[in-house]
Symmetry: C2
């Protein structure tokens, strides 16, 4: 005995979402079935709208609704610093800290020879063009602290340093609120190497 | 610095889903943004379709796409047994067990004076009509094993027993695969009371 075809189709689509298994999909499907029509359709509309309205910023490749994204369009951002990240979601993560006021450049991935991702697959040419056109004083690498992210940062640093631009990398160390005992050796080792004077 | 308005709207809608918090909503939103347009719109379409196509079965109040639901429409079901449940999702749960081959009746809730849900708010009149029209030999109560569910079952049993129809209730006891040590006292007590001869 199967669910009605329309319900089964919805369950299949919901299960494709990251972090949503069969139980959650069912819970969400029944919640949608129970919701007033308007309320359920607002979700469908939001999905359609996001696919219609959102594309890549022509300058930094962050998600944007206009020609450039809200960060690039803002007059209050410090245009002399560019933070290089892998994905648009990394921009959101950094924006949430409110600790950074410069611009961004989204590479669209990280170098990974194993997965066949080379320099030509990332927005590196566009980054280099921005560095020669704009008066950039510092490039902050905020790629992920894993093999691909570190490789990408090292590769780009070698390209950018000769231009006389300051190149920095996000600090590695113990997560705030974390527990020394549970830190992995590499992170703890990095925290010791990068210890600061108090 | 906020996300683009269309992204923020999608995040708001996603967060309304049960079991989805801000982090999951963001993960799903970026997954949708990264998905090919067709693939993302399939989810939107499935939501629209489910709201357009699915309504209540005219006979048992389960979700249905036609006039009656797939259980009621099936010729292979045993029409002499009706299982009474609170919600359509309970029908799915019982169908998944493949242990039941009769029909259903969905009440659309459970008696709850505290929440102002009385007998007139549930599909009880329709159940009584089915019991007088159809040749039903047994009614199985599968309302939830909580105060509201037990109250509803007791109320309906008092209405149905005078009709000479056999009235049963799902067994309470230890969950299969569970651990005696972690069972609550009420469940364990119920399991002792309802112990079976081996």
């Amino acid at each position: 005995m199967e669910s009605a075809p329309a319900i089964q189709k919805l369950l299949d689509e919901l299960e494709r979402m990251p972090g949503v298994g069969p139980k959650s999909a069912q819970r969400i499907a029944y919640w949608l079935l129970n919701s007033p029509r308007d309320s359920a359709l607002r979700l469908a509309d939001a999905i359609v709208e996001v696919k219609d309205a959102v594309h890549f910023c022509s300058r930094c490749f962050n998600y944007a609704e206009g020609d450039v994204c809200e960060v690039c369009a803002s007059a209050s951002r410090d245009a002399s610093t560019i933070c290089v990240v892998s994905e648009p979601r990394d921009v959101s993560a950094i924006e949430r800290t409110a600790a950074y006021s410069g611009l961004y450049h989204v590479l669209g991935g990280a170098l990974s020879p194993m997965d066949g991702v080379g320099p030509d697959d990332l927005h590196i040419t566009e980054l280099m063009a921005r560095l020669s056109d704009e008066s950039v004083a510092e490039v902050v690498f905020a790629t992920n602290p894993n093999v691909e992210g570190e490789t990408t940062a090292a590769y780009l640093a070698r390209l950018i340093k000769p231009l006389g631009i300051k190149v920095t990398r996000l600090a590695s160390g113990l997560p705030v609120g974390g527990d020394l005992e549970f830190a992995d050796e590499v992170t703890l080792g990095r925290a010791i190497e990068s210890r600061r004077a108090l």
